[in-house]
């Protein structure tokens, strides 16, 4: 063995400092970085810039720094420039959170018992039921909302049923927050059942038996054993339902009618007929900030939870 060979092998053995273009993972990650960079990250920076730009006279915008877009969320600017507090947009933001929160809660209320019931079935039937839960999710979202329009709408299935039962006819079940909520819950339900089911499925059945063995009733076992141990799945499901619900567009625009807006429809309106891009961008950034804040909060809580276990 000569020194040069020893030297060469030592070189080869070290984690090699390769130039990035010799590194296959650089090339593997390049397409996703280009795609997301161009179609996602760049647009987000642009919309952030537009949110502080000036509204153009005939739609569009001009690159002049202006906070009017954000100011408009809370205040109405009078002819003489005085600011008047107007809660109409704030109310839309609050309604958005209330509807998304209610959607999450209702989904949870149904998903936990149903997921538990499914997890208790024999393997074959279990797979079939989970397939049945997943299936409607694949039917087009717009059609799932449309189905509820047929049910709740004028001459719809439910008003006719109520009429048949002797209740006052001509009752409008559409174009209110209840109708929007109904459609939101329906479209989001599979997203809640699946993660909750996955975590209940992982729950060791002997833990339930151990709880009963130690004199815990069904209720105590549910509260002190089942729910705490399935919390990760419940949190995952809640995030999967809550975040897209905040950005809902189809449900409020079809079920809520023109008046009962959510943040999603309000944003869309600014880029359509309403034509106020900086204001639309400002609401979009606000929505994004709220969602990001919520996700970071959830991630930090999850990390703390994990650290505690």
């Amino acid at each position: 063995m000569t020194d040069s060979v020893l030297h060469a092998t030592a070189e080869a053995g070290r984690a090699p400092r390769v130039r990035f273009w010799h590194d296959p993972s650089f090339w593997g990650l390049l397409p996703s970085r280009l795609l997301m960079g161009f179609a996602l990250i760049l647009p987000i920076f642009i919309i952030a810039a537009v949110s502080v730009a000036t509204r153009g006279a005939h739609g569009g915008f001009a690159w002049d720094f202006n906070l009017a877009g954000y100011r408009q969320i809370l205040f109405n600017e009078g002819w003489t420039g005085e600011l008047e507090f107007t809660p109409q947009y704030l109310l839309i933001i609050v309604r958005t959170f209330l509807l998304a929160g209610a959607t999450t809660l209702i989904c949870l209320l149904f998903a936990v018992p149903v997921a538990y019931f499914i997890s208790r079935q024999p393997p074959g039937r279990k797979a079939a039921l989970i397939y049945l839960v997943t299936l409607p999710f694949w039917a087009s979202m717009i059609l799932r909302v449309y189905a509820w329009m047929i049910i709740l709408g004028k001459d719809g299935t439910l008003p006719r049923l109520l009429e048949y039962l002797g209740l006052p006819s001509g009752m409008s079940l559409m174009f209110n927050d209840g109708a929007t909520l109904t459609a939101m819950v329906y479209t989001a339900m599979p997203l809640m059942v699946l993660p909750v089911f996955a975590s209940i499925e992982k729950l060791d059945g002997t833990l339930i038996e151990a709880s009963h063995d130690l004199y815990g009733s069904r209720w105590v076992t549910l509260r002190r054993v089942i729910l705490p141990l399935t919390a990760p799945g419940i949190v995952a499901g809640a995030i999967l339902v809550f975040v897209p619900s905040l950005g809902a567009v189809l449900e409020p625009s079809l079920m809520g009618g023109g008046k009962q807006m959510m943040m999603g429809t309000l944003i869309q309106l600014q880029f359509g007929g309403g034509r106020n891009w900086p204001f639309g961008a400002a609401i979009a950034i606000t929505l994004m900030a709220l969602v990001m804040g919520f996700l970071i909060f959830a991630a930090l809580r999850a990390a703390r939870r994990e650290a505690a276990l």
Partner: protein, 357 residues
């Protein structure tokens, strides 16, 4: 047997982060040898095997395969094949396709591949299952296919990573014999990794005992068992009693020692020759009890006994020192010494070994 070297490992070191998995390890493996790397988990044996295959590279040192430096050569260019612990049979290919895979990559022609695959399946008695997929096989059958697949390209060295650990006890015994026969028939160098000392003693031409990232001892199975060079080897391979002793005199390859229970004796000083504190290793089966006691004889009281069927383990109290002895139950009445009895205890001085404390 060791006239030519198939593998030469020289001062190989390996770090995983700050942890040093191998500390300048060196050894040679002869051609046609059945060589075993034995050690507890984390001793570095699997890392070494993966280095021979080319899946890991050392941070320093050299590895030569038949005189050729291979550290910089990727696995697919080394004439070395591996039998994986998980067997790693490709689940989407039939057994036939699995065995042919290496040959196709070597660029053999179709006829030659077909003949070789047939021959290999024949050799491991799996010809009639050639068209099946790995999922349809039992553990032992998978093991055979993994062997056929690795041997088909006629590698210079066959590496086996704990290939028997997934099998049940009876099958494991049969596979040991089968592996040994296969090695003799093919004449290929086998490098076998295991944590099971019995497997190592049974199959190997030579064993390297690894511990703490270092080679503790290399030798034939008898050398490893009967002449361990240090406490680690004596403790890891087989069972033993360690007695704290004083070496009072050494002369002409003999050491005179004093035991904790007062008996002085002279033993061959092959392992350790310095005066002062040392340990004496005596295997339980070398300790004789009752009427069988011979060699150095003293007295002990039976404090515990475990009947194992073929033999019985006794725990003895000899003047405050605990000793373990085992006795073969040669007849129906073999297990006759009652608990609490005081009996003569003895061992032949030559069967004990003095080691550094």
């Amino acid at each position: 047997m060791n006239q030519s070297k198939a593998i030469e490992v020289k001062s190989v070191s390996k770090y995983f982060g700050a942890y040093q998995a191998l500390k300048s390890v060196s050894f040679n493996i002869g051609s046609n040898e059945f060589f075993t790397m034995l050690g507890p988990s984390g001793c570095g044996k699997t890392t070494l095997l993966r280095m021979l295959a080319g899946f890991e590279s050392p941070n320093s040192g050299s590895i030569q395969l038949n005189g050729r430096e291979v550290v910089a050569i990727p696995p697919h260019k080394r004439r070395v094949n591996t039998v994986f612990q998980s067997y790693a049979l490709f689940p989407h290919m039939t057994l036939e396709q699995n065995v042919a895979y290496g040959l196709e990559n070597l660029g053999w022609d179709q006829t030659r591949i077909r003949n070789r695959v047939g021959e290999m399946l024949e050799r491991v008695h799996m010809s009639q299952m050639a068209k099946r997929k790995p999922a349809q096989l039992s553990g032992g059958q998978r093991q055979r296919i993994a062997l056929a697949r690795a041997l088909a390209p006629e590698p210079e060295v066959l590496l086996l990573d704990e290939p028997l650990s997934a099998l049940d006890l009876k099958l494991r015994q049969a596979m040991r014999d089968e592996l040994r026969t296969l090695q003799r028939d093919t004449g290929i160098t086998f490098v076998f990794v295991t944590h099971d000392q019995e497997e190592a003693l049974d199959m190997s031409d030579r064993i390297a005992v690894l511990g703490g990232g270092e080679v503790q001892q290399i030798g034939t199975p008898t050398e490893i068992y009967e002449e361990p060079v240090n406490r680690f080897v004596a403790d890891f391979v087989g069972e033993t009693n360690f007695l704290d002793v004083d070496v009072v005199e050494t002369a002409a390859g003999q050491a005179t020692i004093r035991t904790p229970f007062g008996v002085a004796l002279t033993v061959p000083a092959t392992g350790h020759a310095a005066k002062g504190r040392a340990i004496l290793s005596v295997r339980p089966e070398k300790i004789n009890l009752g009427d069988q006691a011979q060699g150095v004889v003293f007295e002990g009281r039976i404090t515990n006994k475990n009947y194992m069927g073929g033999y019985t383990h006794y725990t003895l109290d000899v003047a405050g020192t605990e000793l373990r002895a085992s006795r073969r139950n040669a007849s129906r009445e073999g297990d006759t010494i009652p608990l609490g009895a005081t009996v003569p205890v003895g061992f032949v001085a030559g069967s004990a070994r003095v080691l550094a404390a």
